[in-house]
Symmetry: C2
Subunit: 194 residues, 2 copies
């Protein structure tokens, strides 16, 4: 096996650790925390189901790749709770180091491609990254509004906080915004959001 | 929210159940069974890392979509252990019914697209489906050869059985075949395969 192949395998084996990173939100059908690998798959499926809502010309391959990769930094940087302002301090720096560390396992071409996708996702300056971020942020809101919203109630999250953090959904698509508003409405009625 | 959007959400919520379907193989870093949602994400990442090994002109968007979708039938049909010949009887029929059932939740356009991707994956007649199948089949072999291979030792699986079932890897790419052979060799040395 050549070095390039061995490096790709090292990356794949390291990535396995994402299955052990737990998020705050629970699953719909089981009372356990969702892990980040599952969340990444579910978000890819959501992007596929709502692909027609992405602006014409959106490169969906790039969208799916970004979603598959965006949370891989959590292997080293951990999952940062979305509404914890204090934990957010230094998040970008910690995660930038983490993407450097994990992509260093890869051969040069894949390293550059994956790093570039990760920074594009983070910067939210392209159609693809806006759509990918919107789907990623919408997923836990949808799950929380359907189940008992524990990650909100346990942490005293308000509807205002959720709305404020999720401007990218409005930017991405009117339909995703409608889905978001409807989930927030449901959560308020169920008293899951203060 | 229009009916089309509501149907897509119903599909996304139903798909959450895949996180509760456990496979035989364990994770690399934790002694628990891998669930099918995690496996789907990890296989997508593998396809991305080895994309250059797919034949020129391979539609990688289709490959990633197929991998994201191919196991969703397990929500109703369960995970069929790859080396259990008895359990394989009627597998295609059970899973065909399952893909019908879950995609029935979707609007017509997405229903047809997702069903068609699923059957294309199953039939292994296109470049994209051969590559997607190869990655999907390679993943548990890689994990087993690296960890303690419990899903093989518990079930008395032989190297011959693994090689016989995995012809699609050779068809997909010489490099993936090399990765496969090297994992099998490692597993034999570690006495994980009879």
């Amino acid at each position: 096996m050549d070095e390039k192949t061995a490096r790709k395998l090292a990356f794949i084996f390291e990535a396995d650790k994402l299955k052990g990173i737990n998020r705050r939100n629970r699953l719909l059908n089981e009372n356990r925390a969702e892990n980040t690998a599952e969340h990444s798959w579910h978000s890819i499926l959501m992007a596929m189901a709502f692909a027609e809502e992405a602006p014409a010309g959106t490169d969906m391959l790039k969208v799916l790749k970004m979603i598959a990769l965006h949370d891989i930094v959590e292997i080293y940087a951990g999952d940062t709770f979305f509404y914890d302002e204090k934990a957010y301090v230094g998040k970008f720096e910690r995660e930038s180091e983490a993407i450097e560390k994990i992509t260093n396992l890869l051969p040069d071409a894949e390293k550059e491609e994956f790093k570039s996708l990760w920074f594009e996702f983070e910067n939210q300056q392209t159609t693809e990254s806006v759509f990918a971020n919107a789907v990623d942020q919408l997923m836990p809101v949808l799950l929380n509004a359907e189940n008992n919203g524990l990650s909100w109630t346990e942490n005293g999250v308000t509807a205002e906080q959720v709305r404020k953090k999720m401007k990218v959904i409005e930017k991405a698509s009117p339909v995703l915004k409608e889905v978001f508003d409807s989930a927030i409405q449901k959560a308020i009625e169920k008293k899951l959001l203060q």
